[in-house]
Amino acid sequence: MLILTCPCCGVTADETELAGGGEAHVRRAGPGASESEVEDYLFMRENPRGPHFERWRHAYGCGKWFLAARDTATLEVFGTYPAQTTEPPEHIRAAITERHPGWRWRDFS
């Protein structure tokens, strides 16, 4: 039962209050995109053992979506941040670097 803090309302919530929404920072490939770009967008996902970026919704709370950086092996949460961003903020990256120097996740490091 994970605990995540909703950056929108500030509530520290049990997993039962939240709904997972898959991988974060997926870039939309719309009309004009190539077949392989569309396939990547719709189907290709990361499956790391270690730091990962996820979408969560405070479904039984304020209803807002937010993003979380989490270690899939140790379950450590490096932080949560608003969904209105295209890349993880600096303080989240720094928290990951502290545990996993030299980490990479897609284009981020």
């Binding site: 039962m1 994970l2 605990i3 995540l4 049990d14 997993e15 929404g21 939309r28 490939a29 719309g30 009309p31 004009g32 995109a33 077949e35 569309v38 967008y41 719709l42 979408r55 919704r57 479904a59 209803g63 807002k64 979506w65 140790t74 379950l75 450590e76 949460v77 969904a83 209105q84 545990r99």
Partner: protein, 986 residues
């Protein structure tokens, strides 16, 4: 024979005798007994049969780790199978039944399996699947079916109630032995909020049985004074009969309280599930004694040395007149001394260690007990009961040097810390070579959300086996007088050189009948990983989860692989620690509380007027209204005809209603819908489709433009919540700079469809706003007053008839419904349900989400291209619909089907194509998506998806009839009723 001694038993209240039954036999015990101790007190040692060979089995242990003594408890609505007799407290009238045998416990036909031992080796379950095929059907399967399974499931609905507790504390301590009590004293004195839980009914753990002197008093008195002090602390809560079942992600601890199993007449819940969030979880879970592996170690009468001691000290049970003790450590000598002090005979202590020099062995020798170092039990004699043991050299191959008559054997293979909870959530273990045990590795704990350790371990569970060491580990440095112990010897098999014949009789896992020979066979066959060997042999996979067998099995595997134990590693412990009831997991969420029922404002009227229900999401919608003796079919036919010929009423309140508002609302809806809602004029309505990014159709409904910046989106009944969530997802996560606000207002409105040629007449007789064709043409809406009610009237139709949907504030819904019934009385107004609604829409060829769609259907498949704004640059799903498979002309497309002779085609039937595939299955070219009896046409009608469907009008196809045959049907236009749309436009 086991028997009750005339005196003693620290937990017994002999002034309170209790009657109970076992397999219908009336037996007697005392308050304070467990079912296990009471049965032993009555001489009942044979308690069950093993799973695979149906070997006779008796009690091995005295606590939660017991593998054999599983019984059914209670009767009828209170029956529960697979309960451990050692964990069942005796109460008056307790009813216990033995299980896994036929026809009786004493004479079990299945025991013939034991004669087949050689043919049921490790991996039996896998091997039988292979060859020969006919053997599986005629030999293995009937055999496995007859012998498989433990207890029988209850036959009645559970008569007990259950509940959940949600608890937040600073510190939860698991285990009420002296370490747990010491930890609670320390934390309680610091003022921390503490919850201390203990799985049994008693505090003090092993210390009160083994009786060291603590702080100048007996262990019993020390425990009493600790409890007295804890009870005065307002910040400390204590619960017995509460077992921590699992430690989960981020430190979530689940505990299982058996509130009234011991006193069934008590009002209130039977079990309670505690869902605990603690800043810190301290595990003081103690240790479990290990059996030794010698031939015949499963014969009833062979027990753990600590269990023999527990039964004797706690419940005054003599395991038999003569008990042989066999050990690889000093602790078992406590059992010999306890038996001696109780006046019972210990003919010999068989000690595998070559040198035995400790204080406890010395005390045994001083008492005149014969001690035999360097010796092993070669074999146990007896079948349903121990009659004696053969003794030989531990270093030998099994030659018997001496036969010793006895009726019980007390064995000890050393102790294993109970590390289960530590391991549940990823805590790692370290091998302690000196004590030959795995203990928690404090440097690799299970971790929480901040990377912090979520559990710590204290006392015996931490590998501190002595009383003084355990107390010190828990934070109390106390004066303890206990004899010093010499090191144990890591002896796993007795004797060391035993051959295959003996190893086939050495049991590791009693409940699943896994023997030393099975684990060695698994290793020989290449199952070298401990996780593979576990699954191949089923070692540790029974309901006791290998509490006794784990380390021994591991040691045997390591021996067979010639590897060190830590190199072989352990299997993963999984929750729950011991089984918990399904009722406790459900808690109060059962029956009407299982999930909430959503009711429309008109629900009560439906209920009172013959509604037969169809669940739709959490709503209950009337499927049809049964009048008098009508069946469903007759009612549906009547309702359809009423709508076609006069007028009907449908409670449409459950339809989703989402308001979308803001400067960018039009632009936003143009992305959500395949069409262009931004171009709907204020006062107009338009049908819209919503696809996901994969291009698949997920919802449909009528969109009405309420104002320049406001739209009302109708969704399907089941779609309201997830379409609202879908909109919010895109607004919050992709187009967060667009100024749009959405609100799900589904429950704020009651909505009634008035459909049929007389619909306008009914509304006109209600009085109020102008609902004429000129004022309110098809696909428009208007706001006004109808029959004195504030209303929004939508001129939309899902039936193909002249139709109005009238929305009023929810609290006026019942008024509207009754006004419409009254105003329509002259026309025979008829309430209709969801099935008539389905038939009406199918006659008209309207698709239904969830019938024509299943998550793999795009609008183009349903000939709904007209609802897609093709010139629009973008909408959700647009790009995906251009992918090659989506644009493939061979996709199945919507058609109607007319079966020969007017038959109703089966739901989900396939349209067959010539030939067969590689599996000998008929090729298909389409399938039926909707099929009904049409009262309007007097025959069956169907909608279907068919390859090249729209190009094949008039063609005959073959549809599966569900019984291996075929029905011939003609491909036709799915729109059967009023193709010109005159009625709905009327």
């Amino acid at each position: 024979m086991s028997a009750r001694l005339p005196t003693g038993g620290r937990l017994l209240d002999r002034s309170q005798p209790l009657d109970f039954t076992f397999d219908g036999k009336r037996l007697h015990g005392y308050a304070g007994d467990t079912l296990a101790s009471a049965l032993l007190g009555q001489g009942q040692m044979l308690l069950g049969r093993s799973f695979k060979y149906h070997q006779p089995r008796g009690l091995v242990a005295s606590g939660a780790e017991e593998p054999n003594a599983l019984v059914g408890l209670g009767e009828g609505a209170f029956f529960e199978p697979n309960q451990r007799a050692t964990a069942a407290e005796l109460h008056a009238g307790l009813t216990a039944t033995s299980q896994n045998h036929w026809p009786s416990l004493e004479h079990d036909v299945g025991a013939v399996n034991s004669a087949l031992t050689r043919f049921l080796p490790a991996g039996f379950y896998y091997k039988t699947f292979l060859w020969p095929r006919s053997f599986w059907k005629h030999v293995y399967e009937p055999f496995i079916r007859q012998s498989a399974g433990l207890g029988k499931p209850p036959q009645e609905a559970d008569g007990s109630t259950y509940e959940h507790f949600h608890v937040h504390v600073d510190l939860v301590i698991v285990g009420g032995g002296i370490s747990g009590l010491a930890a609670a004293l320390t934390a309680g004195r610091e003022g921390r909020e503490v919850l201390l839980i203990e799985q049994t009914a008693h505090w003090g753990g092993r210390a009160v049985v083994d009786a060291p002197q603590i702080d100048g008093q007996s262990a019993e008195d020390w425990v009493k004074s600790a409890l007295q002090e804890l009870e005065t602390m307002a910040n400390v809560r204590m619960r017995t009969r509460t077992m921590a079942s699992g430690l989960y992600d981020h430190g979530y601890l689940m505990a299982y309280e058996r509130v009234s199993d011991h006193a069934p007449a008590t009002p209130g819940p039977r079990h309670r599930l505690w869902r605990i969030r603690a800043e810190e979880t301290r595990l003081a879970t103690g240790a479990l004694e290990r059996p030794l592996s010698f031939a015949g170690n499963d014969v009833p009468g062979v027990m753990l040395a600590s269990a023999v001691r527990d039964y004797l000290v706690n419940w005054a049970i003599s395991p038999g007149d003569r008990t042989v003790v066999v050990t690889n450590n000093d602790d078992a000598y406590r059992t010999a001394l306890a038996l001696y002090r109780a006046g019972l005979a210990v003919p010999v202590i068989v000690d595998a260690r070559p040198q035995v020099t400790g204080a406890l062995p010395q005390a045994a020798r001083d008492a005149g007990i014969r001690v035999e170092p360097g010796r092993a039990i070669v074999k146990v004699d007896g079948k349903k009961r121990v009659t004696g043991v053969e003794i030989g050299l531990q270093l030998g191959e099994g030659g018997a040097m001496e036969h010793i008559a006895c009726d019980a054997v007390a064995m000890s293979g050393g102790w294993s810390p109970a590390v289960h909870l530590w391991s549940h959530c990823g805590g790692k273990l370290t091998w302690d070579e000196a004590q030959a045990l795995f203990r928690p590795d404090a440097s690799r704990p299970p971790r929480g959300d901040k990377g912090q350790p979520i559990a710590s371990v204290t006392g015996t569970a931490n590998g501190h086996l002595g009383t003084a060491a355990a107390l010190a580990d828990a934070g109390l440095e106390l004066d303890v007088s206990e004899p010093a112990e010499e090191p144990m010897a890591p002896v796993w098999i007795m004797p060391q050189g035993a051959g295959p014949a003996l190893k086939r009789k050495m049991f590791l896992d009693y409940q699943n009948d896994v023997k030393v020979s099975d684990v060695e066979l698994a290793a020989r066959e290449g199952y070298e990983s401990v996780e593979h060997a576990k699954r191949y042999t089923t070692l540790g996979m029974a309901t006791d989860q290998g509490k006794l067998s784990n380390i021994n099995g591991l040691a045997v595997l390591s021996g067979a692989l010639n590897a060190a134990i830590p190199a072989t590693g352990t299997t993963t412990f999984r929750p729950p620690y011991t089984p918990i009831s399904m009722g406790s997991i459900a808690g109060a969420a059962r029956g009407p509380l299982f999930q909430p029922v959503r009711r429309t404002p008109i629900h009560g009227w439906h209920e009172a007027n013959g509604a037969t229900w169809e669940p739709v999401g959490q709503w209950r919608r009337p499927y049809a209204y049964l009048k008098g003796a009508e069946d469903r079919h007759t009612a549906v036919t009547r309702e359809v005809q009423a709508v076609r010929n006069s007028v009907g009423l449908l409670d449409a309140s459950t339809l989703g209603k989402i308001v979308v508002k803001g400067p960018d609302a039009g632009r936003f809806l143009d992305m959500i819908y395949t069409g262009r809602p931004s171009s709907i004029a204020v006062g107009k309505c338009r049908y819209g489709l919503i696809c996901n990014e994969n291009g698949f159709l997920v919802d449909d409904g009528v969109v009405a433009r309420l104002a320049e910046d406001t739209w009302l989106c109708h969704t399907t009944t089941g779609g309201a919540e997830h379409i609202h969530a879908h909109m919010e997802d895109w607004l919050q996560c992709e187009w967060w700079d667009w100024q749009v606000y959405t609100a799900n207002v589904t429950e704020e409105w009651a909505q009634v469809a008035v459909a049929g040629p007389k619909a306008r007449a009914v509304l006109e007789s209600l009085g109020g706003m102008d609902v004429s064709k000129a004022a309110l043409p098809f696909m428009t809406w208007a706001e006004g007053e109808l029959g004195g009610l504030p209303a929004r009237v939508f001129r939309i139709s899902f039936s193909g008839e002249l139709s109005y949907e009238i929305a009023v504030p929810a609290d006026r819904g019942m008024e509207l419904w009754e006004a419409l019934l009254q105003a329509g009385a002259a026309h025979g107004v008829t309430p209709y349900g969801t099935e008539a609604m389905h038939v009406l829409r199918a006659e008209k060829g309207f698709i239904m989400i969830g019938e024509e769609t299943d998550g793999t259907i795009i609008p183009q498949d349903l000939n709904l291209g007209w609802a897609i704004a093709k010139k629009k640059e973008d909408y959700l799903g647009k790009r995906a619909q251009e992918r090659p498979h989506m644009a493939d002309p061979k996709r199945w497309k919507l058609v109607g089907l007319e079966a020969d002779g007017g038959a109703v085609l089966p739901e989900g039937a396939y349209i067959m194509a010539p030939g067969e595939n590689a599996n000998g299955q008929r090729h298909t070219q389409g399938r039926v998506t909707s099929t009904y009896y049409s009262p309007t046409f007097g025959r069956g009608i169907a909608m279907a998806l068919l390859i090249h469907g729209p190009d094949r009008m008039g063609e005959m196809v073959e549809v599966t009839d569900g019984q291996g045959g075929a029905i011939t049907a003609r491909v036709c236009d799915p729109v059967l009723y009023d193709r010109e749309g005159e009625r709905l436009d009327g």
